[in-house]
Amino acid sequence: MQGEVIATRRVGAYHHLTIVAPGVAELARPGQFAALAVGGPTTGNLLRRSFSIHKVSPSGTYGGTLDLVIAAKGPGTEWLAALRAHDAVDVVAPLGRPFPLPTEPVATVLVGGGYGSAPLFWLADVLRERGCTVEMVLGAASEDRLFGVVEARRAADGVTVTTDDGSAGHKGWVSDVLPEVFERTGAAVAYACGPMGMLQSVTRVAGEHGAVAQVAVEEAMACGVGVCMTCVMPVRDKAGVTKMVRSCVEGPVFRGDRIRWEAFHDGVCGVPADAVGAPRVGGH
């Protein structure tokens, strides 16, 4: 769908875009994402770029809008970051499965790493509407890579900040402060979005505290709509059977304890030997 950028602003190391995208806002739920085409009509970059939906406004002055938070790191994100108001941008959204919401009003912890916090404020609002308490933990490499600390104070009942270099909040990782947060809040569910290492440690700490972790993963995606099979990762199903599942349509949110974390290593992910259809020794 053809959208139009109506506002763009820098936030720390990130670019915050507001895009008019009628129809999207009504359907979207926290944890879903948008896939944007980049580079305009002459582009040599054909693949869409995926971004968590930061928030939606079903009925703004301009019709429904969609907010994204973009870290410029390569040609596509740089192009998006350079967009100006009134530029056109091609958006497919909402995509993927949202964060599952608890049916009871429970205590929750929301953990965001870097721009991974983007979808969490909207999630926090939805959780609090349902009577849940919301504790937030935001971590990043440095202060400029934190996103939404001010917004977090509005959206959450309590906020903890960590940075690797100590430039803001606690010096260290979110996993350093998480045990204390779980103990203090007695949270039953953790929601997390950020780098894989962080998602793994949130899953571990949640498990240690008897909580369920719902994590939104980020795997390189070519299509975002389930047709290319590039975005797979090894995930156990309810029956405990591991399959290489598409994170764009069966994710990006998975139960953390279903993900085969041990298969990930230094930017690559192997196929566990017990996965369905895994290569046999000497086989494919």
């Binding site: 053809q2 290489m244 192997g270 290569p279 494919h284």
Partner: protein
């Protein structure tokens, strides 16, 4: 750009009816139009059906299916390249049994005409897959079988069937035996050969009723931060608009050879870098009777449908009554100054 023009009947009293007959007959099966998905670029239908009605396409081409379920490779499985991409999926799939029980019936239920892509680790496995398919309940929605003898991702001791005329012929002959005589069978060729005409010749002589060209080119990307191969599978298949000139050339060479009488004339399905109706017309003018849209679908999920709409408009602008008039037309229009 991505809003589909209403196809089919025009409003009464509306603009003049200049509809081009888009239908095409491939080895005895008539399709309403020549635009298809490309194997592995559209999964097995459900995903794209959210964006457009897949039964509107000439045919729906399924992801290559093998005998057993396959996990495919680890990740990263893809790298973006200049005007294209590299993939190394490793033929992930549910296996032919799950395919004929779940995917094929669904495609039939929505009215799609299906070109089923099959492969095997050995020539015998190709035949076994074909047999399960031919014996399946929903087989009547199948308008043909595409025999993927060219996938460079299968790490079958590094060999690709379609790199060798004998191996190609063997697979085709064995699959032919398992399929009812009237079922069209397309051999899908790789461009990674010194002489594609020789392979085409071998496949046709062995019983292929048509050819699909081209599969991906073998390529590689290196991650210059980590200084290691970007893909888990090291090499991968290059696709997208970047390879279109290679597809056009392959179609041209094989068409020229058939026109010269080097072997029997069979219909060609063109694939490689089609993103617009104009791209589709390029492949058709080189000799393709039908055209598949692959990587472009990742850029625009409605691409196959859009290509069809654009192709129709272009054919109209060229003033032909039937699209088939344009098949191979560039062979007749050369200017020798």
């Amino acid at each position: 750009m991505r809003r589909a023009r209403r196809r089919g009947r025009r409003p009464e009293g509306g603009w003049p009816l200049m509809t081009v007959d888009l239908s095409v007959t491939l080895s005895g099966r008539t399709l309403p139009n020549p635009v298809m998905t490309a194997s592995g670029c559209a999964a097995n239908g459900r995903e794209l059906h959210r964006f457009f009605d897949v039964s509107q396409l000439g045919a729906f081409v399924t992801k290559t299916v093998m005998m057993d379920p396959r996990s495919g490779r680890g990740t990263p499985r893809m790298a973006e390249t200049a005007s294209g991409m590299l993939n190394s999926i490793g033929l992930q799939g549910p296996g032919i049994h799950a395919f004929v029980e779940q995917d094929l019936p669904w495609l039939k239920s929505v009215g799609a005409r299906v070109l089923v892509s099959i492969a095997g680790n050995t020539a015998g496995e190709f035949a076994d897959v074909a047999k399960v398919l031919a014996d399946s309940d929903a087989f009547d929605c199948v308008v043909g079988v595409e025999v993927n003898i060219s996938c460079p991702n299968v790490a079958n001791r590094g060999l690709v069937f379609a790199c060798d005329p004998l191996s190609s012929a063997k697979v085709i002959a064995l699959v032919r035996e398992q399929l009812p005589r009237d079922v069209p069978m397309f051999a899908k060729l790789t461009p990674d050969v010194t002489d594609i005409v020789t392979i085409a010749d071998a496949a046709v002589k062995a019983g292929a009723t048509g050819l699909t060209m081209i599969n991906t080119l073998l390529g590689m990307v290196i991650d210059t931060d980590r200084l290691r191969p970007h893909l888990g599978g090291i090499t991968g298949g290059l696709s997208g608009p970047s390879i279109r000139p290679v597809a056009v050339r392959a179609l041209w060479q094989v068409t020229a050879a058939m026109r010269d009488g080097r072997f029997q004339t069979v219909p060609l399905i063109g694939v490689g870098g089609v993103r617009s109706g104009r791209d589709a017309l390029e492949l058709i003018a080189a000799g393709a009777s039908a055209v598949q849209v692959g990587t472009a679908t990742f850029n625009d999920p409605t691409a196959p449908q859009r290509v069809l709409t654009e192709l129709e408009a272009l054919a109209e602008s060229h003033g032909v009554a039937r699209l088939t008039e344009l098949v191979g037309v560039a062979h007749e229009k050369m200017v020798i100054p």
